[in-house]
């Protein structure tokens, strides 16, 4: 077990010392760590937008690592989108959270707080961190009343610090997944990383203002719902299982299940399943390897017409127009 203490920041001052803490070096926008700790890409980007820095992490840990995030500068907040496979636990002074894919995969954390992670060897860590200076958020709040009046939703009012653990929407999931397919480095990647950053922030704001940011849910129930989400995502090539089947899997009554599922994901189970299905369909069509009929069959839509109807409703464009224009 290695213990590492490091710092982030909303400027570029932390990068050298970060590389040093991880026994590595920087090269261009890449940060390399010692291979004993992790292999893969860590890529930072100064967005050109003032006071915002993006960090892209796609690494595999080669050893058990205990990470302590203790920031030198206390003037920023971190917005973390995390699709790590296999949960890692994150501890603040009061609580321990399971973070990672389908767990608490979105978090907003004040740089004042010291956070600890336990990461097991072999963990595939993937995520995007957005560091924003507090002054920027203050300015934004001054210009936008709705945000200002809702800001306590992402704050611990007693301690006057930002902290919120949350769940990702399917849109975010798609954004992160698409980005992961790209080759890291180069202008095209930079553009896409910036675009992803903007879209993630926009989506987060949307959900925050529309009250979709969830309240605390009983931990066991949450885990059950997460498991169901996993089942649904892994079964996008099958028709939607009935609510009864999946409610049984989550050990809940149908009514409770439906209510809770909606509270956590912001959509019905069927819609959730369909969204992932359609995103997959788009991906398949984009590769041009399959025809529309083949995609519809492969994803087990009940009929060709239904597939086209749903595709059109979700993306606003029919699959035929979409592939013709590719």
């Amino acid at each position: 077990m290695i213990t590492i203490k490091h710092s982030y920041g909303a400027d570029l001052d932390w990068i050298e010392s970060f590389a040093k803490d991880f026994g590595g070096s920087t090269h261009g926008n890449f940060i390399y760590t010692s291979e004993q700790i992790s292999t893969g890409n860590r890529y930072f980007l100064n967005t050109g937008e003032e006071d915002v820095v993006l960090l892209y992490i796609d690494v595999i840990y080669n050893d058990d690592v205990h990470i302590i995030q203790s920031h030198e500068k206390k003037d920023f907040i971190g917005l973390y989108f995390n699709l790590t496979k296999g949960l890692t636990s994150k501890t603040t002074a009061d609580h321990s959270y399971d973070i990672g894919m389908l767990g608490y995969d979105v978090s907003i954390i004040d740089s004042l707080l010291e956070i600890e992670y336990e990461i097991r060897s072999g963990t595939e860590f993937y995520g995007i961190c957005i560091f924003i200076k507090k002054i920027k958020i203050e300015n934004f709040a001054r210009a936008n009343e709705a945000f200002a009046s809702n800001i306590d939703k992402i704050m611990d009012v007693d301690k006057n610090t930002f902290i919120k653990f949350d769940h990702m929407s399917p849109e975010n999931f798609t954004i992160l997944n698409n980005l992961r397919k790209m080759e890291v480095g180069g202008e095209l990647f930079n553009i896409n990383l910036m675009a992803a950053g903007y879209h993630l922030i926009s989506n987060y704001l949307d959900r925050m203002l529309n009250n979709e940011v969830i309240e605390k849910v009983d931990n066991e129930d949450l885990l059950n719902i997460i498991n169901v989400q996993k089942v649904l995502i892994n079964s996008i090539e099958k028709p939607f299982p009935s609510v009864k089947t999946i409610a049984d899997k989550a050990h809940m009554s149908q009514t409770k299940f439906k209510k809770l599922f909606r509270k956590i994901t912001g959509m019905t189970p069927n819609n959730f399943h369909l969204t992932y299905k359609l995103e997959k369909a788009k991906e398949l069509l984009e590769n041009k390897t399959y025809s529309i009929t083949e995609v519809s069959d492969q994803l087990q839509f009940s009929s060709y017409t239904y597939f086209i109807f749903k595709f059109r409703k979700y993306f606003g464009v029919s699959p035929n127009t979409f592939i013709k224009k590719l």
Binding site: A146, I191, D206
Partner: protein, 327 residues
């Protein structure tokens, strides 16, 4: 009556003048509401990353407007995405050009050094997104890709118009659904602008243009038919009907795809391969006479073989023939 209204482009200050000109209200320094006597809708303006700005038109005009975007000191490209219901027109150097997704010219690239007028169609929804981008920044993005540079050169000299690609279309359609008054809209449109840029680069870069991707099933079929030909070189050419059955598609589709993928018709491909085999056989020294080879390759006439051989290798088969001396 069409009246001339100015709209410069990048710097936010020009919004005031435009708003004043048309008598609209400027909200939060980014939204201009179109006054009722002109129509409904709004124009949205925001600065994205340094060197890039975005302008969104979403309106339904009652009166004709002639919107002029004219020269300013910094050279910029203007990317104009048009998703309006009816084609709009652009006046470039006194020439009228129709643009719009409905006529498959969704994307137009202009430069800000030429005087251009944008004339939205009246009594129809106009939905157009423009981004202004500095030459310097574009240079970095283009990364010296020949194809992209070529397209940009066209835009530099005059203008360039193209169809919108599927992914850009999805991005723009998703903008339809958003309200510009949402607080999350700013960063959403900034992200969308960058993604559109990325789509443009991806579509036009050299890499993406080279391979012609086929559905997997068709590709497999074509390979199977090609393999069949290669394994049966010593026989006569099987018919197209037969080969298309091997490939699992109709005769017409087969002929078309074969040519597209292997840059040759199936028959020509077959003859060429056959001649390569003949060449090998001639030089192998395993045969006593030319006739023996010709017979084995299933040619009807000696003359036919000679002709084809000459066509490909520019010499007679007898020149290449090495007689069997082993006996």
């Amino acid at each position: 009556m069409s009246s001339e209204k100015l709209f410069f482009g990048l710097a936010p200050e020009y919004q005031f003048q435009f708003a004043e000109d048309i008598g609209g209200v400027l909200i939060k320094n980014k939204i201009i509401k179109i006054p009722q006597n002109l129509g409904t809708g709004h124009v949205f303006y925001i600065r994205s990353i340094p060197g890039m700005a975005i302008l969104l038109w979403d309106c339904n005009l009652e009166k004709e407007l002639n919107i002029k975007a004219y020269k300013d000191n910094i050279k910029r490209y203007i990317f104009h995405y048009d998703l309006s219901d009816q084609p709009n027109s652009l006046l470039i150097r006194n020439k009228k050009v129709a643009i719009g997704n409905s006529i498959n010219y969704g994307l137009t690239i202009l430069n800000n050094q030429t005087e251009t007028f944008f004339q939205p169609v009246i009594k129809q929804r106009t939905f157009a997104l423009r981004f202004y981008i500095d030459h310097k920044l574009m240079q970095i993005f283009a990364d010296n890709d020949k194809n992209v540079m070529q397209k940009l050169k066209k835009a530099k000299n005059n203008f360039f118009r193209d169809d919108i690609d599927g992914n850009s279309l999805l991005l723009l359609v998703s903008l339809y659904e958003k309200s510009i008054y949402d607080e999350s809209f700013d960063s959403f449109i900034k992200g969308t602008g960058l993604q559109l840029m990325s789509c443009f680069l991806k579509k036009n870069s050299e890499q993406s243009l080279s391979p012609n991707k086929l559905p997997e099933f068709d590709h497999k079929g074509l390979l199977a038919s090609k393999e069949y030909l290669e394994n049966h070189l010593q026989e006569q050419f099987p018919s197209i009907t037969f080969l298309s059955k091997v490939a699992g598609m109709s005769g017409t589709k087969f002929k078309m795809l074969f040519k597209k993928v292997f840059h040759n018709t199936a028959h020509d491909f077959f003859i060429r391969e056959k001649m390569n085999l003949a060449h090998k056989m001639l030089q192998s020294g395993d045969y006593d006479s030319l006739e023996e080879i010709i017979y084995e390759l299933h040619f009807n006439k000696i003359k036919q073989f000679f002709n084809k051989y000459f066509q490909i290798f520019k010499k007679d088969p007898s020149d290449d023939f090495i007689k069997n001396n082993k006996k």
